[in-house]
Structure formats: C-alpha cells, structure tokens
Assembly symmetry: none
Homo-oligomer: 212 residues x 2
C-alpha cells in the first residue's frame, strides 16, 4: 500500500509532522473512498493500514464542512486525551484524495501543567500546616505526584505502583485519620478491599522489598 500514489504524495508532510512531534503525535492518512487507513506514523492505538477508519474521523467528508476540522478532543480507550485535527487533502482537480488526521497526546502536557500548578503559592504560603485540614488534598497530592513521576494515569498503575503509593501515604500518617481509607481507595481508583489487601501486604514483616 506504500506504493499508492496518494501515500507517496502526502507521506513527506506526514513524516515531517510525526518527526517533529515525536512519540506524542500519531499521524493517520485515511482513504476517503474506502473509509480505511492508508498509512499511520507513530501509531498510538493498534490500528494499521487497511483497518477501517472508525472513530468517525471522516465526518469531515460532509461536503459542506470546511477542509480543516478541529482541533477537537478525542478520548482513547486507556484514558489518554488527544487533541485532534483532520484535514481533507485534495488532488489537483479538487477532489478529495485523502484525509489527514493528526492526534496529539496531551496527557504529558497536562501532567506537566498539573505539576506546575501543584507548586505555586501553596507550597510557600503554607504557613502553619495546622493540622492539615486538607489531608484529603494531601492524598490527592501524593497520588498525583506519583502518577506524574511514572507518567502513567491512575488507572494504569501496576500493583507495585500502588504499593509504593500506599507506602508513602502510610508514611505520611494518612491512615491515622478517620475515614481516610475510602478516600485513598477512591483516589487510587481501586476498591476498599484492595487497599486493605495491599496495606496488609505492605505492613507484613515479609518477603518483598518495596521501593519508596
């Protein structure tokens, strides 16, 4: 399919964008006739050439629609948020030749933004923590920091990750607070049972060594 003249035509532009945006952007060329993917650069999902386009990316084919569509937000199955644009690419005669779709993963940027906003006045201005009325917030902060560190959203954390987070929370004394466990469970997107299970494992004088 690489020898499709349309792919040959548009590939350089696609490769350029894919190269510029590194691993955070996926560039897809759709065939507007067959509604299938002609080529993909930096695939983020498992779709490949020949697969149906799905996703309604081709809505833009509506003749009354503008040639460039977006940016709009798309959600991946694993929770990543994408900023997407589509463009109808035309041949010399003005007929649709391909549909270009660029999907930019904004998760890393949003994580960075989250870190940024996590700092700011609060850190400095926290005069006397008093007793952390907002231990709640602290839980979010610990979880959030960890997520940012390892670059995975909460839902994608591994068992080991969760153990590590719980370790930090435990160390921070969070579980000495009333009603803390359910809050932690929610923050970790996990059930109360699981929290107790992991906690037991963590507290056991046993086997595994836990990273902090």
């Amino acid at each position: 399919m690489d020898d499709d003249p349309r792919v040959r035509t548009w590939a350089p532009a696609c490769r350029a964008v894919a190269a510029l945006l590194g691993p955070y952007a996926e560039v897809v060329l759709h065939d507007p006739g067959t509604d299938r993917i002609m080529a993909v650069w930096n695939p983020m999902s498992t779709r490949g050439p020949g697969d149906p386009s799905l996703l309604g990316e081709l809505d833009a084919l509506d003749p009354s629609a503008p040639d460039v569509f977006g940016p709009y937000e798309k959600l991946l199955a694993d929770g990543r948020r994408l900023s997407s644009v589509s463009a109808i690419l035309r041949d010399a005669d003005g007929r649709p030749s391909a549909v270009l779709c660029v999907n930019l993963d904004r998760t890393p940027l949003e994580q960075a933004a989250a870190v940024l906003s996590a700092f700011g006045a609060p850190t400095a201005s926290r005069p006397e923590p008093l007793f952390e009325h907002d231990w709640n917030e602290r839980v979010q902060h610990v979880v959030g920091s960890y997520v940012r560190e390892c670059g995975r959203p909460v839902e994608r954390l591994t068992r080991a990750d969760r153990l590590a987070v719980l370790g930090r929370l435990e160390e921070a004394g969070v579980f000495a607070v009333r009603r803390a466990t359910p809050v932690v469970a929610r923050a970790l997107a996990v059930s109360r049972s699981t929290v107790y299970g992991l906690l037991a494992e963590l507290r056991a004088p046993n086997t595994k060594d836990h990273a902090r």
Copy 2:
C-alpha cells in the same frame, strides 16, 4: 498568491497542523524554485508570502537529502528556540512542488521544564513533613499552652477553660484523627463523656460565644 495551485493543494494539511499546535507552531510553505515563501500560518517572525526564504531552510533541496529533514534546532533573533522539520513535497510526477517547514516554539516547554527542575527536588524529596505523627504531642502542647496562659493546672480548669481548649483542638483538626478523643480526655484530666458533652455544646449553633 493564494491561488497558486500548489498552495491550494497543501494548504489544508498546513492549516491542520497550525490549528493543532496553536500559537506555538509556525507552518511555512516555500517555493523551491524561487526560494521564496508561498504561505505562512501562525507566523512567528514577520516574514510573509513573497519574502525570501532565508534561514537556509532550503538546504534540504540537496537532491541526495531525504525528503524529511529534522527535527533540528533553530534560533530566532529574539532568542526563542525552535524545533523544526522540513519536508520536500512533490507533485504527482515526483518533482519538488513545495517545501514544508514547521517550526515549533519550544520556549514555553523549556520554561516549564526549568520550573519543574527548579522545584524538582522538593517534589520528590519532600521528606514528608510527616503527618504529625505526634499529633499526640500537639494535643499536649495546646493544653499546656492554655494552662500556662491562665496559670491554672489542668485539674483546676473551669468549664469555660475546657471549652476554650477544646475549641482550639477542634480547630486544629485533632478530632479528625482516629482515637484522638480519649487522648484529649486524658490530657484534660476529664472523662470521655465530658469531652463529648463539651464538644456538643461547642459545636451547637447556639447561645454562647466562645473565645478562641
């Protein structure tokens, strides 16, 4: 110049990229024949259509070079650093039709990174202000201070005194901690019942105003 068929051909793709990357990316279409700019989206410099390409962006025209060039770093006059890619776009016959150049301003990201690393250590290394594992001690402290203030030993405190102390403890969030009440009771040399009684009175939306 907008009616140049080459611009018509490539514009949608350019607009799409420009739209996706917002104000941080400049998309330029060069005419490889005249070494001039055909079109610009999100211009970051003052260059416009018809201006000479300058910048050696067209080095890529070397026939032995690959069609996609970069990303490489460029420096703007005002100090901004760009990540750039260029791509040679060809017509149906394989002849160079235009040179696409996308310049991504990495300054905002680098600033963010700088902030991040400046604060970096703190985030990770925050040894954990602990969670006042010694809230216990804090209780003693509050009670002790009060006793010193009014010069009466704990056993001689009046009802009002006790209310005041409980007010402070409450405000400090002590009662959000598990098992705190009995500790407080002991610190006040008073029974658990009494603490709950006073606390109820304190929390009631009622009568007396309590000094803090």
